[in-house]
Subunit: 418 residues, 2 copies
């Protein structure tokens, strides 16, 4: 079987399995999730063995330490994956939830009810735990899923998949409800992205290159999980203690994630005072500052921020800093250079907070809090499959509900239109 | 200015205007809508004059009578367009509606609030009234809109647009909030479909060729308004009087629209009795029957239905008919050949009704009613911009709410993540 045939078979199998998983009841799905968790724990040794192959290949290929770290499956991480599956088992099943409903004057009874999307295709990079997380969320929301992870994690992903599939095989659910692409051949992705008849949505998670390629190639609808170029704007009327604490947290608590701050905007009137207190904190954390000319006048260590810097998601101990003259200028900068992910203002001035909330065109907008809170778990959604930077269907953290659509059902007693 | 430059200018102007219209209050938008309605009525003569140019060109190009009829702007139709704008003015503004919200254990206050999508691009064919309808719905929901109608209606669309733009010019809203593409050059469409940075959604309404082209070309997210290959399944346990009345209505009340029945499925056990009562009714309406072999045995007039017929939206007095052995076979036929628009069952048997509702994978599914009810107005949504056959974001009739997205806003008092 060549790669094209293989990919065609995967999407056909997924479509067929989607009918089976869509009908599964919550308790059946939860039992499978529990069994999957158990299988991962029981299969620890095989998982680590498969992962060791990926790590060895990664070292040979010269992957960075950061990437190797993300790739590694330790006992602790395997336990966390299993715990994640059990968490999903405990969440409320979104399928069948009545969104809305009413009776028309002619007696027709309308209901708008949540149903699974059908077939979800995830295209992602590096971390193998995404394989288990995404499989669990798609299963719980009644969807079949096709998982296409990074080539670096192929053995790990296949090993995780085997443990999950065992649990499905013992259940009444078609085991093709969860499939992992078993080849690194890129032409498979092209088939997936064009398989409108079989795949209902593609969710790409990864770098800008991956996302752009998917958006440009796909005829299947896409929900983009784009990078996070997140901003914090320190207003003239900010509580500066609070601003220092929030900016430190947003930049330094975990610089390698998408909701970390990449650019700090500071009002000119308080820039000098604020920098005097803020910069020593960044220095202590080893954060490199790249600044606009006004920043560099006040912060001698700062190097020059280029046009490119304002558009960069560093995911590292680097911060671009710009001095602005007003909240309006901050808003314009964010809408121009940001990625519509998470942006915040620190201010005590109500009209500026309102303006910022209204005019920043991002999925999540904060007043007086760290952008690091953008996360399905933190938001109280119980889990997340990712963070949508799109505006259609789902915006911001995506969890179970966002993996469903709705269906209108209309009950009549013989009504006809006149 | 060449076509490319023109298209680039349109999308840039739309993005800029989207900021202005997003901030407009409901009463300001309603005043503009009222003024637009008045302008259309006052401009009747110019509208008919422009329309006469399109009609003359259409006659010369040999357009069918049906197409010429759809293209024509009569006084009555102009009055209906104006009335449509006033109806939209009376609808509730969806912008700012609080979808959900809660306070997290750490005191952060989350709200999920409706906001405009931004820039909507409509690509449609023939009927010039869509220009006014779509402009009104986008304006009311706070979006800037780019309207690209059919080349046959260019003069009519530009004349309608002039009347609408006059009303905007007298208001505080940027008049580029409504733009009509003023050329029939197709390369404009390619620019629109790739303008991710400026356009938030493309809504194509038209034939399958148009929809497919848009879905394949666009990197901007698309909500497809695909054809309606609608089915009615007459079950073994149907009330046959009701079935005759529903099928007559679904097929004959207005055959040229997307929610009309194109294929009738009939259970074998009642096929003979049902056909005896149903077929004379279709004959009276001049409906041509194309049947499966079992149908043709019972209905001598019927010609052969080909594989192609099951996939065809006739929009005419033609009906394909198939005899099936079970509700399961009916469901399979619909999921295989339908367009996920509107499908119904006529039955008194509860489990069959349930199975049909659960398993038919369409936007709207009916029990004992005509599929002709699939319409924003009939559903009580007040209006519609179209009927989505997609599963993401909007499914079935799309009105004001479906032209919005949401934004998460998070109010804090200095919270940081630990």
């Amino acid at each position: 079987m060549d790669t094209q045939e293989y990919a065609q078979q995967v999407v056909r199998h997924a479509r067929k399995a989607s009918k089976s998983i869509a009908k599964a009841r919550a308790d059946a799905k939860n039992d499978v999730l529990e069994q999957m968790a158990q299988n991962l724990l029981n299969g620890r040794d095989e998982l680590r063995e498969a992962n060791e192959k990926d790590l060895a290949a990664g070292r040979e290929a010269g992957l960075s330490d950061a990437l190797l770290d993300r790739l590694e499956l330790t006992d602790d991480r395997i336990e966390k994956m299993a715990a994640g599956l059990r968490t999903v088992a405990k969440l409320k099943d979104p399928v069948g939830h009545l969104v809305d409903g009413w009776t028309l004057p002619n007696g027709l009874e309308l209901t708008k009810k949540r149903v699974p999307l059908g077939v979800v295709c995830m295209i992602y990079e590096a971390r193998p735990n995404v394989t288990a997380d995404a499989a669990a969320l798609c299963l719980k929301s009644g969807n079949a899923v096709i998982l296409r992870g990074g080539k670096e994690a192929l053995h790990s992903n296949m090993a995780i998949h085997s443990r999950l599939a065992e649990a499905l095989e013992e259940s009444a659910i078609d085991s093709n409800a969860i499939q992992v692409i078993r080849t690194t051949d890129r032409s498979v992705v092209d088939v997936l992205l064009k398989a409108d008849e079989y795949v209902d949505v593609v969710i790409p998670r990864g770098g800008p290159g991956l996302i752009r390629k998917v958006a440009e190639t796909a005829s299947v609808p896409v929900i983009k999980h784009y990078e996070g170029i997140c901003h914090t704007y320190v207003d003239k009327d900010a509580d500066l203690d609070m601003a220092v604490s929030i900016c430190e947290n947003a930049k330094c608590q975990r610089p390698g994630v998408c909701n970390a701050m990449e650019t700090m905007l500071v009002h000119r009137d308080i820039a000098e005072t604020f920098f005097e207190r803020m910069m020593p904190v960044f220095k202590e954390h080893g954060v490199e500052i790249r600044g606009c000319p006004a920043t560099r006048e006040l912060v001698p260590d700062a190097t020059e921020a280029t046009e490119e810097d304002w558009r960069t998601e560093y995911l590292a101990d680097i911060l671009s800093v710009r001095v602005v003259d007003s909240v309006g200028e901050a808003v314009d900068h964010i809408n121009e250079y940001g990625s519509s992910h998470s942006d915040g203002i620190v201010t005590e001035h109500l009209p500026n907070a309102q303006k910022f909330l209204d005019e920043v065109d991002s999925a999540t907008v904060y007043v007086n809090a760290s952008t690091r809170f953008t996360d399905g778990g933190e938001f109280g959604l119980g889990a997340e499959i990712g963070i949508s930077t799109d505006k259609l269907h789902a915006r911001g953290p995506m969890a179970l509900e966002e993996l469903t659509t709705y269906k209108w059902t209309i009950m009549g007693t013989g009504q006809i239109r006149t």
